[in-house]
C-alpha cells in the first residue's frame, strides 16, 4: 500500500515537471480525460461554482460533483462519514475537531506546486511583513501537521499541510447607509438601541459569539484574553449581554446562511448586521444601498481550505492533487477575487485578471472601468472604490479569526440559552 503511494507520487512529480515546461495553466497531466475521474467535493456552497467545475472539466478532464451543505454540517460529515467525499472544503477552525478524529490526511507540500507562494497570512500569520491579529483559530496555528497521519498540529512548518487555502476574507458589519444616515465606526453600534428591532447577528454559535465579543470590547467594558478561546466566565458575560439585548428587542432576526443575510438587508428587515463581503455585493447588485463597513476595532476573519480524507488513494488521490494545483494556478483565484473573496496565491490570480480589476479588488484603487462579476453582471460603476480598501488594509486589520473554543460544549449550551431567552 505505502509503496504504491510513493510510486505514484514519484510519477506525478515527474508529471508536474513536464507540466511546468508545458505552460502554467493547461499543462497538467491530461491522463484524466482518457479515464474520467469524479471527485465528490464537500463544502458549503460558497466556493462551489458551476463555472469552476466546467473549467476543471475542460482543463483536466476531472468531473467535480458538489455536495453543498451548511457550515456546521461540513465538520460533522468529516468526522462521522469520512468516505462520503473525496475532497473537503472546510473552515480552518473546524480542524480542531477533524484532525483529532484522524479522518484527514496531511497534504504533501512537495506535491503542491505553489505551496511556497501561499500568502504568509496562512504560513506565518503576517501580511507584507506585518503580523496580524491571531486571536481564535488563526490558520497559522493549525496549518501544519506533525506527520501525514498526525493527530496533532506542528508549531513550525513541516511538509504536511492540513488544508490548502481556497478562500478567505474578513467579516465586519454591513449597514444600509440610506436608512442609517450617519457614519458607523465601531462594532458597538450593533447593540446601539437606536437600531432596536433592526439589527441582526449570526446564529452559528461559534461565530456569533465572536461578533458579540467584538461588541463587548468595543464598548470598553471588558478585554478578552483571547476572544476565540473564552473562559467560562467570559462566555457567561458575553451571553448575558446578548440576552439583555435580545429581551430589549434589539434583534429583528438572526441569520444563519448567506441567503438569509442578503434577504434581511435587501428587504430592509435589518439595517445593521454582521455580514460577509460578497453578501454585501449581492445586496448592492439588487439595487439596494449597502456598505461593508470597516470598523476601528478591526475584522473577524475566516478562511477555508481543501483537505483530503484519509481514505483517498490511487487515481482519485492524484486527481485531487491535480485539482488543488489547478485551483492555485490562477484561474480559480481570479474567479474568486472577482466575487470579493481573496485567493490563496495572489500572484497567480493576478495573471488572470485585468490590471484595472486587480487595482480595484486588491489594491483598493478607484475602478477605471465598470466592474463586472464572474457572471458578467455589473457590480460597480467606474470610479467606485472597494469598501475596506486594499487587500493589505483589510487583512492587515484582522482582529480575530473564527474559532473553536476549548469550552465549546459549554458555549453551545449557553448559546441555546440565549436563543431561548
Amino acid at each position: 500500500m505505502t509503496n504504491g503511494i510513493k510510486f505514484t507520487r514519484r510519477t506525478l512529480l515527474q508529471g508536474a515537471g513536464t507540466a511546468l515546461a508545458a505552460g502554467p495553466i493547461t499543462g497538467f497531466p491530461a491522463v484524466h480525460a482518457a479515464e474520467p475521474v469524479t471527485l465528490r467535493y464537500l463544502g458549503t456552497a460558497v466556493n462551489q461554482s458551476g463555472d469552476i467545475a466546467r473549467k476543471v472539466k475542460e482543463d483536466l478532464g476531472i468531473t467535480i460533483e458538489y455536495i453543498p451543505v451548511v457550515t456546521d454540517e461540513v465538520t460533522k460529515r468529516a468526522v462521522t462519514q469520512p468516505n462520503s467525499f473525496d475532497l473537503i472544503d472546510t473552515e480552518f477552525f473546524s480542524l480542531k475537531k477533524i484532525v483529532p478524529s484522524g479522518n484527514i490526511l496531511g497534504m504533501d507540500a512537495r506535491r503542491i506546486k505553489n505551496a511556497d507562494k501561499i500568502t504568509p497570512i496562512f504560513t506565518k500569520g503576517e501580511i507584507a511583513g506585518k503580523a496580524i491579529g491571531d486571536q481564535g483559530t488563526a490558520p497559522k496555528k493549525v496549518f501544519y501537521l506533525e506527520g501525514q497521519t498526525g493527530k496533532s498540529f506542528a508549531s513550525s512548518p513541516t511538509e504536511w499541510i492540513t488544508l490548502i487555502p481556497t478562500t478567505y476574507n474578513a467579516d465586519t458589519l454591513g449597514i444600509r447607509p440610506d436608512l442609517i444616515k450617519r457614519p458607523i465606526t465601531s462594532w458597538r453600534e450593533l447593540l446601539n438601541p437606536e437600531f432596536k428591532g433592526r439589527a441582526s447577528i449570526l446564529n452559528i454559535p461559534s461565530i456569533g459569539i465572536m461578533d458579540a465579543a467584538m461588541v463587548v470590547e468595543a464598548t470598553g467594558d471588558y478585554t478578552y484574553g483571547d476572544k476565540g478561546n473564552m473562559t467560562k466566565a467570559e462566555i457567561d458575560r458575553t451571553i448575558k449581554l446578548l440576552i439583555e439585548a435580545k429581551r430589549a428587542g434589539q434583534f429583528r432576526a438572526f441569520w444563519q446562511d448567506f441567503n438569509e443575510s442578503v434577504n434581511l438587508m435587501a428587504s430592509g428587515e435589518t439595517v445593521i448586521q454582521s455580514m460577509w463581503s460578497p453578501a454585501v455585493t449581492k445586496v448592492r447588485t439588487q439595487g439596494v444601498a449597502c456598505t461593508y463597513q470597516p470598523l476601528k476595532e478591526g475584522y473577524r476573519a475566516w478562511a477555508t481550505g481543501f483537505g483530503l480524507p484519509k481514505t483517498l488513494t490511487g487515481r482519485k488521490l492524484d486527481a485531487a492533487y491535480d485539482f488543488v494545483n489547478w485551483f492555485l494556478s490562477g484561474w480559480a483565484g481570479a474567479y474568486l477575487n472577482r466575487q470579493g473573496y481573496y485567493s490563496a496565491v495572489p500572484e497567480t490570480a493576478k495573471t488572470q485578471m485585468e490590471p484595472y480589476e486587480w487595482a480595484y479588488w486588491m489594491e483598493g484603487k478607484p475602478a477605471e472601468k465598470d466592474i463586472h462579476g464572474p457572471d458578467g453582471g455589473l457590480l460597480e460603476k467606474a470610479g467606485a472604490t472597494r469598501d475596506g480598501g486594499s487587500f493589505e488594509a483589510r487583512m492587515g486589520a484582522v482582529a480575530c479569526w473564527n474559532a473553536v473554543m476549548d469550552e465549546n460544549t459549554y458555549m453551545v449550551r449557553k448559546w441555546n440559552e440565549f436563543i431561548a431567552a
Partner: protein, 296 residues
C-alpha cells in the same frame, strides 16, 4: 342530508374552503410570481422586471450545483420508497386481516413511528449507523483485513435515508390499508375461492384489481411524503444529498430566483402527475362500475 337543498351553510362553507385553499396557495403563488423575476432581481419583492430568465437558467443547468442530479436522486429515492410502501403496507394489511400473534404490537409500533418526533428518529438512525461504522472500523483495526480498511460509513441514500423515509410513509400506508380493507367485502374472495382459485390467484386477479385505486392513493401519499421529507433525513443522510437537503445547503451562498423557478416547475409537474393519477383511478372505477353493472 344529501337530499336537502344547498343553503346558506353550503355557501358559507364553500367560501371558507376557498379561503383556505387561497391561504394554502399563498406561498405557491408568491413563488410563481417571483420565478418570473428579472435577471437582476432577488428573492424578495419588488420585481425587477419580468422575464423567464430563471427558467432558462434552470433548464440550462448552469447553476451553482447540479440541481438536476439532486432532483434525480430524490425522485429515485421517493420512487423506491413509494414502491416499498405500497408493497409492504399491502401485505401487512392482508396479514392484519387474517390476524396473527403480535398484531397489536406491530400496530402500536407503527403508530409510534408516526408520533415519535422526526428529529428523534433521525438522531437515532444517525447514531445507529455511527455505531455500526465504529464497530466496523474497530473490526478493521483488529483484524487488519484489507477490504475493510477503507470503510467510512454505511450511511447512504438507500440505507439510512431510505429507512428514515419508510418510518414516515409506512404508518400512513398501513392506516390507509386498514380503512380500505374495512370496507372490502370478503365475499369477492370467497367467490373466487369457490371457483377454485388459489390464494395467489385470488390476490392477483381479484383483490389487487379491486383495491387498485386505493393502492394508487397509497403510492401518491408515500411519494409526496418522501419527496419533501427533510426532518427525518437531516441526520441520516449519507454522502449525497436529497433535494430538500441540497436546497438547504444551497442557501449558504448566493441564492437566486432559480430556486423559485424550480419550485414553480415541481408544482406544475406534480399537479400534472396528480391530475393524471386522479383521472386514471376515476377511469378504473368507472370501468369497474360498468363491468359490475353488466354482470348484474
Amino acid at each position: 342530508m344529501s337530499d336537502r337543498p344547498r343553503g346558506l351553510a353550503f355557501t358559507a362553507l364553500a367560501a371558507f374552503f376557498a379561503l383556505y385553499v387561497l391561504f394554502l396557495y399563498g406561498p405557491t403563488l408568491t413563488i410563481l410570481a417571483l420565478s418570473f423575476q428579472g435577471p437582476q432581481g432577488g428573492l424578495t419583492f419588488p420585481m425587477n422586471g419580468v422575464s423567464t430568465h430563471w427558467f432558462g437558467k434552470l433548464w440550462a443547468g448552469g447553476g451553482i450545483v447540479d440541481i438536476w442530479a439532486a432532483f434525480g436522486r430524490s425522485l429515485r429515492l421517493s420512487f423506491v420508497v413509494m414502491v416499498l410502501t405500497v408493497v409492504l403496507a399491502f401485505f401487512a394489511g392482508l396479514a392484519f386481516r387474517k390476524g396473527f400473534r403480535g398484531a397489536n404490537a406491530l400496530f402500536a409500533i407503527a403508530v409510534a413511528s408516526l408520533i415519535v418526533p422526526s428529529i428523534v428518529v433521525s438522531l437515532g438512525i444517525g447514531l445507529e449507523f455511527r455505531l455500526v461504522d465504529d464497530a466496523i472500523n474497530a473490526l478493521a483495526a483488529a483484524t487488519g483485513w484489507g477490504w475493510l480498511q477503507d470503510h467510512g460509513t454505511a450511511m447512504g441514500l438507500y440505507s439510512s435515508a431510505l429507512g428514515a423515509h419508510l418510518t414516515w410513509t409506512l404508518p400512513f400506508g398501513l392506516l390507509i390499508m386498514f380503512a380500505v380493507f374495512n370496507r372490502f367485502d370478503p365475499a369477492y374472495e370467497e367467490a373466487a375461492r369457490d371457483l377454485g382459485a388459489t390464494g395467489a390467484q385470488t390476490l392477483r386477479h381479484v383483490v389487487v384489481p379491486i383495491l387498485a385505486p386505493a393502492l394508487v392513493g397509497v403510492a401518491l401519499f408515500g411519494f409526496t411524503l418522501s419527496f419533501d421529507e427533510l426532518a427525518r433525513t437531516s441526520q441520516a443522510i449519507g454522502g449525497r444529498n436529497s433535494l430538500p437537503l441540497e436546497l438547504q445547503g444551497l442557501t449558504t451562498t448566493v441564492t437566486t430566483p432559480e430556486i423559485y423557478a424550480l419550485g414553480s416547475l415541481t408544482t406544475a409537474v406534480s399537479a400534472l402527475v396528480i391530475g393524471t393519477a386522479l383521472a386514471a383511478s376515476l377511469l378504473l372505477q368507472r370501468r369497474r362500475a360498468r363491468r359490475s353493472l353488466a354482470g348484474a
